[in-house]
């Protein structure tokens, strides 16, 4: 009735072989591996990894991700682009522009040599067509054009005729944009990839997805045109019709789909890609090859903050809000594993090209306790429990809880945190049934005013329920100015907002791009709108994988 293990020698042998094979895989070499040499067909082709869904359509983005911007800006050229150093608008599809005296009418003159990839001239009507399509898209995208006269009402269906929107093609090369309110930032806003023109055939091609079979059917006006498209990504080649073709040093751009950020980084390390935007970094990460790589970092134009509901209880008192702000210790707050991604925020607007960030906030726990006592809550006595609402997906985020811990230990203030589904949370926030919320605001316009509009929203639509008419006036004044004069007005608005403490800026987010050192011309952009047109490759003569330098 018994069978000894010796009776199944073949089973033991099979297990031994299987286990040995698996051990080899699990314990196999993971460093100093040979990479993949760049093929000749990839010479001068910039290979960019992406992990999110990417469609050759300016109007389908889910988030303004780096690769989306780079992809769209490779295929299409908007009216203007921002100078990498100063952030100032520069001619792109538009050759020149002029404002009316009241800054409500912007007239743009298109460059006469602008051509679609099939040779057709780029006309003002192509922009009108594209922007009318954008106004029919989701509100998260369409709102980009809401400063245009009647644009919002057209989007909401309150106006049926697109002609009512303040967009006019005066002739083939003249585009006129009429605004509801003066807005000098509109010019830099026109650098948004969302506002690219569309050829009259594009909507049909995108609808039937014929570009997979016939890439040339997707007619674009950017520096590159579609060469190949499949589930693994897109390959672009230089567009011979592009007006600035002489300045394009790349032969093409390939967008390679990866399953994850981690796989994308491995593709760069293996020599199969050159750029991996939005890479997640960890200190203990070791690269499997010796390919020379570097990590480019840039501050995202956004801020992580705690927003007070200034209409609630003790939060109406400025001294209480100041005490809560002073009690925060940002350096301690940021976890070690996030130090590459997060930096302390000492103002509402981070550093950006042409406008360094300010230092408007301090931290002083003693002063915080003094202010709280002065407000009638010494040691937190008598202070009601603060209620914070967080979305379910934020369960596990350590930062809201860390703030609450800090307030309890320094000030004796307790907090009740609720994690809610989005619908319930929206109802709670609309009803103002919260003391503070934790959130992130991200700019979509490369301008400080975009973040400061947080404090000019009508109270019922604002997380803080706080609105300062002086700031509203300052931003309105800034919208009529340009250059240093405008920046000075915005700085005054930011100082005033931070002094009133309707919200506590906590952290700025840093974005990282893994770059092979072969890629040259890289520049930082607060909205991650680097154009591959400005980049080039500096390859060794054999275009082989460099082995000399260790990975960064």
């Amino acid at each position: 009735m018994t069978t000894t293990p010796r009776d199944h020698w073949w089973m033991s042998l099979a297990l031994l072989v299987l286990g040995g094979g698996l051990a080899l895989v699990f314990l196999g070499p993971r460093e100093s591996l040979p990479g993949v040499a760049r093929g000749m067909h990839d010479r001068d082709v910039l290979r960019i990894v992406y992990t999110q869904v990417l469609r050759p359509d300016p109007h389908v983005r889910m988030l303004p991700l780096s690769t989306y911007n780079q992809f769209i800006l490779s295929l299409w050229e908007p009216l203007v682009e921002c100078d990498p150093l100063t952030g100032e608008p520069q001619p792109a599809a538009a050759a020149s522009w002029s404002w009316s005296e009241d800054h409500r009418l912007l007239t743009l003159r298109l460059r006469p040599d602008g051509r679609w990839s099939n040779g057709d001239p780029v006309t003002a009507q192509d922009f009108v067509r594209a922007w009318q399509r954008l106004l029919r898209a989701r509100i998260e995208l369409a709102f980009t054009l809401f400063p245009v006269k009647n644009a919002e009402s057209y989007h909401r269906g309150q106006r049926e005729k697109p002609e009512a929107v303040g967009l006019r093609a005066l002739d083939d090369l003249t585009l006129q944009v009429e605004l509801d309110q003066p807005r000098t930032t509109l010019l830099v806003e026109l650098s948004d990839p969302l506002l690219a023109p569309l050829h009259h055939s594009t909507e049909r091609v995108l609808a039937d997805q014929s570009f997979y079979e016939e890439p040339a059917a997707l007619v674009t006006n950017g520096p590159f045109r579609l060469q190949q498209a499949n589930a693994d990504g897109y390959r672009l080649e230089t567009s011979p019709a592009y007006h600035g073709r002489a300045g394009v040093r790349l032969a093409g751009v390939q967008f390679i789909r990866a399953n994850s950020s981690s796989m994308g980084a491995l593709l760069v390390a293996a020599g199969k890609a050159d750029l991996m935007p939005s890479v997640n970094l960890s200190a203990e990460r070791r690269w499997p090859t010796r390919r020379a790589m570097t990590v480019e970092s840039e501050l995202a134009l956004g801020v992580v903050a705690n927003y007070f509901n200034v209409t609630r209880g003790p939060l109406r008192d400025l001294r209480v809000r100041q005490a809560l702000a002073l009690a925060i210790n940002r350096e301690d707050l940021i976890e070690e594993s996030d130090r590459a991604q997060l930096v302390p925020a000492w103002s509402w607007v981070p550093d950006m090209p042409g406008r360094p960030g300010l230092t408007l906030l301090t931290e002083d726990a003693n002063e915080a306790r003094r202010l709280l006592a002065a407000a009638g809550y010494p040691g937190g006595q008598g202070f009601p429990v603060l209620r914070m609402s967080l979305p379910l997906w934020m369960d596990g985020n350590p930062y809201p809880a860390a703030c609450c811990e800090r307030w309890f230990h320094e000030l004796g203030i307790r907090t009740y945190v609720t994690y809610e589904a989005s619908v319930q949370r929206a109802e709670r926030i609309n009803a103002g049934d919260y003391d503070f919320i934790y959130g992130v605001v991200v700019a979509t316009v490369p301008d400080p005013a975009d973040l400061l509009t947080t404090f000019t929203m009508p109270p019922d639509y604002s997380e803080t329920r706080w609105r300062d008419d002086v700031i509203v006036g300052l931003l309105a004044a800034a919208n009529r100015k340009t250059g240093p004069e405008r920046l000075a007005i915005l700085e005054e608005a930011e100082r005033r907002a931070m002094a009133a403490v309707p919200a506590i800026p906590l952290m700025f987010e840093r974005r990282h791009t893994l770059r092979s050192t072969e890629v040259r011309g890289w520049y930082g952009d607060p909205l991650a709108r680097q154009s591959p047109r400005r980049l080039w490759l500096d390859l060794p003569p054999e275009a082989s994988l460099p082995q000399a330098m260790p990975g960064t």
Partner: protein, 380 residues
């Protein structure tokens, strides 16, 4: 399908070969679907990608289909190693780890192919999966749950087979009892044989006429005792050799009247053997045969000896008569009802441990020998 029928009448759909065939067919269909779907990619078509194939899109759980036969085989083999349960537990733990590792490697291979990474990066991708939480331990849990379920089914079957065996033993016991009853009836039949009975009654009449009433009473009592024991259906299947010999003595007392002074009965019994347990009414058929085919056939024959000896763990019983030798077709003698019943009872009770032999005795007579295990009522 008829060929699937086992010797024990198992229906074809419960035979393992049928399910192996189903598995093989399923595997072929699965492979065909996957390969057909991925043919463009395998042929290196320009726009084809591994990413869009079912090899990539279908869940990895289809691997369980491939593992099923191996799991069943291993589980069945290890169930037999019931006296080596630490080995079985260790091996199942190892298999759980291996299966989990196979899932991780399969996932890594997919990632490798999808992302066009070189094959040398497989260990890198496997390790990378660990950091991003891609090492799922669910397969280990599924495997262990599956094994537990299989063990439960296996133990249930063993229990059911045990129940069936118990039933079969009960039937065998019933058959044994039937044999015993039949032996009793055979004995009764012999005792009630008209010739035997008439001879006995005539002998009793003669004794009474000769005023030998005391002897007549003894014979009547002996005949009564013979009939009583033969008719006692409730008697035990086993009895002591002492009681068995007592029964024989009663029988010979009656027979001695028939044969007058011609019959000489000797008992050569080792006292140690008296407590031995023997099947009830075991010796009477042999004595009957000796009288019928030995003493009765030869007027010169007169001796009948019953002996019992212990030989270690065995008990040897012998019934000897000095009558004529066995006929050439002695097999016919062995096929007699009494001998057949005796043989069947010994086989049921002792299996190969008991033996019945009938042979000529040199230089004269015939011996019937029974060898069986020496057991007493206190034996285990």
């Amino acid at each position: 399908m008829k060929s699937f029928n086992g010797n024990n009448g198992t229906p074809w759909w419960r035979h393992w070969r049928f399910w192996l065939l189903v598995w093989a067919a399923g595997t072929l269909v699965l492979a065909a679907v996957l390969l057909w779907d991925a043919r463009s990619w395998l042929q290196g078509a320009p726009r084809a990608t591994f990413r869009a194939t079912r090899l990539n899109l279908w869940p990895l759980e289809i691997l369980w289909w491939l593992f099923i036969p191996a799991i069943l085989l291993v589980q069945k083999s290890l169930t037999r190693v019931d006296r080596h349960w630490p080995w079985a537990i260790s091996l199942h733990g190892l298999l759980a780890v291996i299966i989990t590792a196979l899932f991780v490697v399969a996932q890594a291979v997919r990632l490798l192919l999808v992302n066009h990474l070189p094959a040398s990066f497989l260990p890198v991708v496997v390790n990378d999966l660990r950091w991003v939480g891609g090492w799922s331990y669910v397969p280990a849990l599924v495997y262990l749950a599956l094994i537990l379920a299989l063990y439960a089914v296996s133990f249930y079957r063993q229990w059911r087979d045990g129940q069936r065996l118990t039933g079969q033993l009960q039937v065998a016991n019933a058959q044994l009892e039937t044999k015993l009853v039949r032996a009793s009836l055979d004995a009764l039949k012999m005792q009630l044989h008209p010739h035997f009975l008439f001879n006995t009654l005539n002998s009793i009449t003669s004794l009474i006429r000769n005023n030998r009433t005391r002897e007549a009473e003894d014979i009547v009592a002996g005949l009564g005792e013979l009939l009583r024991r033969s008719l006692d259906h409730k008697q035990e299947a086993m009895d002591t050799l002492e009681r068995e010999l007592d029964f024989l003595r009663r029988y010979f007392e009656i027979e001695r009247i028939r044969f007058q002074d011609r019959l000489k009965v000797e008992f050569d019994i080792d006292p140690k053997c008296l407590r031995a347990q023997v099947p009830s009414l075991l010796l009477q058929p042999l004595a009957e045969n000796a009288m019928k085919h030995g003493i009765s056939k030869d007027p010169a024959a007169r001796l009948l000896r019953v002996s019992a000896q212990r030989d270690g763990t065995r008990l040897m019983l012998t019934v000897y008569n000095d009558g004529p030798a066995l006929p050439k077709d002695d097999a016919a003698l062995g096929r007699g009802i009494g001998m057949q019943n005796t043989h069947a009872r010994l086989l049921m009770l002792y299996g190969d441990e008991a033996r019945l032999r009938l042979r000529d005795n040199t230089p004269q007579g015939v011996r019937a020998e029974i060898i069986l295990p020496f057991r007493t009522s206190s034996s285990p």
